[in-house]
């Protein structure tokens, strides 16, 4: 079996991640911050240390601004719905995932003004166009870091400058980028970063977070939920300090442990080495696909400018047939269709049919890519 669906969720996970998850339940099994006995404190230590690891990994400058959520969607909803009120203006791009688009379209119906900057067919954005759209008074600019359909990497540093010049906050959807590319929130000027644990960070489903950069005023974000925090238990009002303001209910200890282990694993391997490996594989895929007649490859066609995600279509073939034959006849696992991103497919010109998406991961080998390319060539020509 060759797993090329790491953009949906990474597989396999490093053994260290699996071990950290069972260890968390075995050794730190208390309810963190609730009870004060040794198992509860052990759980709280694990969670706090993971806050520090994440703040460090993304260089956000403040571990208290690391808010654990169940995934990127939850983090994006927290930021978008917590910040935008009727009468506010928000700007986003035309290659966003539905986890950004749907909350925004919902708010648009309720009085938020939404502007969408059109991207080019290869997923790139025209910065001058964006600067014109992000007018002074815009409250929030939301951009994906790397597209989940074509992998295109956005110029986040320049986008941050555009946001800040207009007085807007920048929220970045790093679902695909976190763990795949080095991210420095302070250097790049990212105010809010939404990430998910189960993709390139190599953690388990059900883990993720919103990282608030040091210096960003979190009091302007309304919590999505309120409830038990283990703090200020004498009050019936929800506390306003971080991280409790945005975290209520018993957290996903096992998922958080998996995140810590995933980040530890990536650190040990080195983010530069991870990136180089994935660039090699991406280059191999783009070159290989381009030699198969009848195939159209989407995106920048440049491994330097995208994460390890390549989309293609085949003239006269449905993507679902290709996906099914790759799985059944060759054991090559890919994802076909719209990838929860209709706006992105409209932008690249593959709506409503969608594309076949190949997404190798850290554990994919060049040999596997060679085999997969052979399988694709046979499926396409027979």
């Amino acid at each position: 079996m060759i797993y090329l669906d790491n953009a949906a969720t990474s597989w396999p996970k490093p053994p260290e991640v699996l071990k950290a998850m069972t260890d968390a339940l075995e050794r730190s099994g208390g309810n963190p911050g609730r009870s004060g006995h040794r198992l509860s404190i052990e759980a709280a230590r694990l969670i706090y240390q993971t806050r520090e690891d994440i703040a460090d990994f993304f260089n956000s400058g403040d571990p208290m601004g690391v808010i654990f959520t169940s995934n990127a969607t939850h983090a994006l909803n927290l930021a978008i719905r917590g910040l935008l009120h009727p009468g506010d203006r928000a700007v986003t791009t035309s290659i966003e995932h539905n986890s950004v688009m749907r909350p925004l379209r919902h708010l648009e119906k309720n009085g938020v003004e939404l502007r969408v900057v059109p991207c080019a067919q290869d997923g790139t954005v025209d910065l001058a166009d964006m600067a014109k759209t992000v007018t002074p008074g815009t409250k929030l600019l939301i951009s994906v870091f790397a597209s989940n359909v074509v992998g295109t990497i956005m110029p986040i540093k320049q986008i941050a400058q555009i946001a800040h010049r207009a007085g807007a906050l920048l929220l970045v959807d790093a679902a695909q980028a976190a763990g795949a590319l080095p991210i420095d929130m302070q250097e790049m000027g990212i105010d809010l970063l939404a990430f998910t644990g189960h993709k390139a960070l190599l953690g388990s489903p059900g883990s993720g977070g919103l990282v608030i950069r040091a210096g960003v005023d979190a009091s302007q974000i309304e919590p999505l939920m309120r409830g038990g925090t283990g703090s200020q238990s004498e009050l019936e009002e929800h506390p306003d300090f971080l991280p409790d303001r945005f975290e209520s209910g018993t957290p996903n200890l096992v998922g958080i442990a998996s995140l810590q282990a995933g980040i530890g694993w990536l650190r040990q391997r080195g983010m530069d080495a991870v990136r180089e490996h994935e660039k090699d594989l991406t280059r191999q895929i783009i070159e290989g696909l381009s030699q198969i007649p009848g195939i159209k490859v989407y995106g920048t066609l440049d491994a330097e400018r995208c994460v390890a995600i390549v989309s293609f279509t085949v003239e006269g073939r449905t993507v679902s047939e290709i996906g099914m034959r790759l799985d059944e006849e060759y054991g090559v696992l890919v994802r076909v269709g719209l990838h929860c991103a209709p706006a992105a497919h409209r932008t690249i010109g593959s709506f409503p049919e969608g594309t076949v998406r190949l997404a190798p991961g850290v554990f994919t080998t060049k040999k596997q890519i060679e085999t997969a390319l052979g399988a694709i060539a046979r499926v396409v020509t027979t």
Partner: protein, 74 residues
């Protein structure tokens, strides 16, 4: 024995304090917040009262948010 107890708003700060103070070589212990202090957060940090000055200056210089510091006989 006279102890000091640091109270916190949030568990995360208690963990941060423990890390900072242990790293500096101080003997501290996370304990369930003594009820008489009716604090915000369920976990407090106990230290040797004689080290109060050191504890406070380390917490301040590392920007650890605290709710109060109290004295306790045990």
């Amino acid at each position: 024995m006279t102890y000091g107890v640091v109270l916190f708003h949030t568990t995360a700060s208690a963990m941060q304090a423990e890390k900072v103070l242990s790293k500096a070589g101080l003997k501290v212990k996370l304990v369930p917040t003594p009820r008489q202090f009716s604090s915000d957060c369920g976990i407090a940090l106990r230290f040797d009262w004689e080290q109060k000055g050191q504890v406070e200056s380390l917490l301040t210089s590392n920007k650890v948010d605290t709710a109060a510091v109290r004295q306790m006989e045990q």
